[in-house]
């Protein structure tokens, strides 16, 4: 893989990585100070025409982070990660796969930390008992006959050398997920009045309609408030319809969306109307009628003489919590009573009883997203955490034991090792291990 050309070296260099990260850090700040995604008019009001123009030319507005130059910087970072990894990984792989029993003995003699001791047993017998003692401590040793003796080698965590590459690849995986999402997905929104259905939503950036391929209906929307007036929940009862048939129903709240065919509907906003849904049921006949009435508008129902309207209302801001109903069936005095939003009451008239319910009309604001890249992004995130843990906290530890034959059927043992990280920790590991196996 390694090419001796300067372009390759440039893209493989850490210097480029550091510069790119530095430039990304600095330029990212711009978009946090200049508000993004406002209209051209808003920028002119905010900064004046000349500055607003300059910002637009530099792509600082309206959306710096999707501008060609910023995306190119991200692209450069990716290219750097790819080339750098291709450049270095083969070397690391060779280290992982290395034949460590081939290590020159003079290198072992210089290696630190090391421990030496003598044994009264010949190399062959000491080697086999050392091997079993090592395996008790979790070190699986290999063996090879060398000059004047036997070399044992054991290692742990060779594969942890890949940790840093797992992190680098994870960044690429996240970018791939983001590209999948922006290529094959969409993000949009729709304002859906209660009782109405739609098969289209509108793209965020272009406001172009996007076909859903099914219908979604908002049956009901309601807000709950805490006692102190803060909003407690926004809830939309949604129904999914395919060819007019109900296929799914769910009440969504913020943080709990509805998903259908890969398209997710999020509760995001609402719009109260000065219009009410008034439902009246004749208890005797069981006939129920629903009307949409404006504030202080008298509505005549189909049943002869039946008229009703909302003459007063109370609430917070534009959200009505109680309303005063005027109701008559033309038999006796009209009834006047207060009703909570969404509540149902029975009205007793001279010849008949009616149930009356009223509710303020809302439109629910839904954010709609299709992002087939999300799971790729999540996979990348998981890889990143895994890779960081491996790269930071796990090390490749290697131990060699050179058992040299001495005169009189005795042996001398040289134990040496190294670790690519946490050298102090490894030193004490080796110390403890040496204490344990010396007894053999």
């Amino acid at each position: 893989m390694k090419n001796n050309n300067s372009i390759w070296d440039f893209f493989a260099s850490v210097k480029l990585a550091l510069s790119t990260l530095f430039i990304l850090s600095i330029t990212s700040i711009i978009g946090t100070i200049i508000p993004q995604k406002e209209t051209a008019q808003q920028y002119i009001e905010r900064y004046g025409e000349a500055t607003a123009n300059l910002f637009q030319i530099l792509s600082f507005t309206p959306d710096m982070y999707s501008s060609v130059w910023f995306q190119s910087l991200l692209g450069l970072l990716c290219l750097n990660i790819i080339i750098c990894s291709l450049d270095r990984f083969p070397g690391v792989w060779r280290q992982i796969k290395a034949d460590n029993l081939n290590t020159p003995l003079n290198r072992l003699e210089k290696m630190t930390p090391q421990h030496q001791w003598q044994s009264h047993n010949p190399p062959e017998s000491i080697a086999s008992s050392l091997k079993s003692s090592l395996s008790l401590s979790g070190w699986k040793a290999e063996e090879r006959a060398v000059d004047n003796g036997i070399l044992l080698f054991a290692q742990k965590g060779a594969i942890t050398r890949t940790g840093v590459y797992i992190v680098h690849v994870s960044i690429l995986v996240i970018f791939v997920g983001a590209i999948i999402g922006s290529t094959f997905g969409f993000k949009g929104s729709v304002m859906l009045p209660e009782t109405r259905a739609t098969d289209k939503i509108y793209a965020f950036d272009t406001q172009k309609p996007i076909d859903l391929g099914f219908e979604v209906r908002c049956d009901r929307f309601n807000i709950e408030f805490y006692d102190n007036g803060m909003p407690k929940s926004y809830r939309s009862q949604l129904t999914v319809l395919e060819n007019g048939k109900v296929v799914k129903e769910k009440a969504i709240v913020v943080n709990d969306p509805l998903v259908h065919k890969g398209i997710t509907f999020y509760q995001s906003s609402y719009q109260p109307y000065q219009e009410f849904m008034l439902t009246i049921t004749n208890k005797k006949t069981g006939v129920s009628e629903t009307a949409f009435v404006s504030y202080q508008e008298q509505h005549s129902f189909k049943e002869s003489g039946l008229r009703s309207g909302i003459i007063n209302a109370e609430g917070r801001g534009e959200n009505i919590s109680r309303m005063k109903i005027w109701f008559t069936d033309d038999k006796g005095e009209p009834s006047l009573f207060w009703l909570d939003d969404g509540e149902q009451v029975t009205v007793e008239r001279t010849t008949n009883n009616y149930t009356v319910s009223a509710k303020q009309m809302y439109a629910t604001g839904l954010q709609v997203a299709k992002d087939p890249g999300v799971w790729t992004v999540y996979t990348g995130c998981f890889m990143m955490i895994l890779g960081l843990i491996v790269a930071f906290f796990m090390s490749h530890q290697r131990i060699w034991l050179y058992i040299r034959e001495e005169e009189g059927n005795k042996s001398s043992i040289l134990m040496a090792g190294n670790a690519n990280k946490n050298k102090a920790g490894f030193e004490s590991t080796l110390q403890a291990l040496a204490q344990r196996i010396k007894k053999v």
């Binding site: 805490y226 102190n228 999020y266 954010q367 997203a369 999540y378 960081l388 930071f392």
Partner: protein
Amino acid sequence: MDSSQLLGITTFTYLFSTILYAAIFIFKAKRLETTATIFTVIALLIQTAGIGLRWLESYQIGIGRAPLTNMYESVVFFAWTIILTYLIIEWKYKTRIIGAFAVPFAFLAMAYASFSSEITKEISPLIPALQSNWLIAHVVTCFIGYAAFAIAAALGIMYLIKNTSETRQSTNDSTLLGSLPPLKVIDDITHKTMVFGFLWLSVGIITGAIWANSAWGTYWSWDPKETWSLITWFVYAITLHARYTRGWGGTRIAWLALLGFISVMFTYYGVNFLLSGLHSYGSN
């Protein structure tokens, strides 16, 4: 006794801890060493009780939520994680001098939480956007990272002070700064603390992204808070790469630990007050 009293007491106990650790550092008051540690552990326990009680109180007034949702609560939690992380480092490295530099951060955080007029201590209920299981995971992971970075910055300051004095005069154990751990040790702990913080910051950003996706359908929207967390991530990524691949250490890393922490503070605090965005609910 209510939670705000306990947390008020915590502010003063951290002040006292700071004084004890400073005394150990300045007057070499070795006799105070155990006292300082015990006192700080007790202060941490009082604060833990305070946070726990606040959680309980939120249930008693019918709100019922983890005490991690507004500026006041997050500053308190920030102080808590700083002390916890510091105590772990003290236990692991058997040195108390770092306390004189790290514990003041926790005290300042608590003092700000207790006395600032900018932030409210009221237990307010959760707005719909914050009602998520990801809340605790996101806040806790971010603040473990922030606390580690605060301690790395404290160590950076320590390094720079000691380094300046060493270049001026030969190190003498009898001088004030002679009692600081060797430069090599400070450098090593700074690095390890940053590594630890970087891992948790990464987890914090990721849990935030997953939460954003489940609430708004977009895991990354370049809002100022997100962008600043990424800038912070870049700063520490640069620092770690410079160390691993170019062998940076010492003064440069100490300065980067400080720069990184400035970025952390801007992400945490500056964004809420100076810039607007999705996280603006954190500002009260």
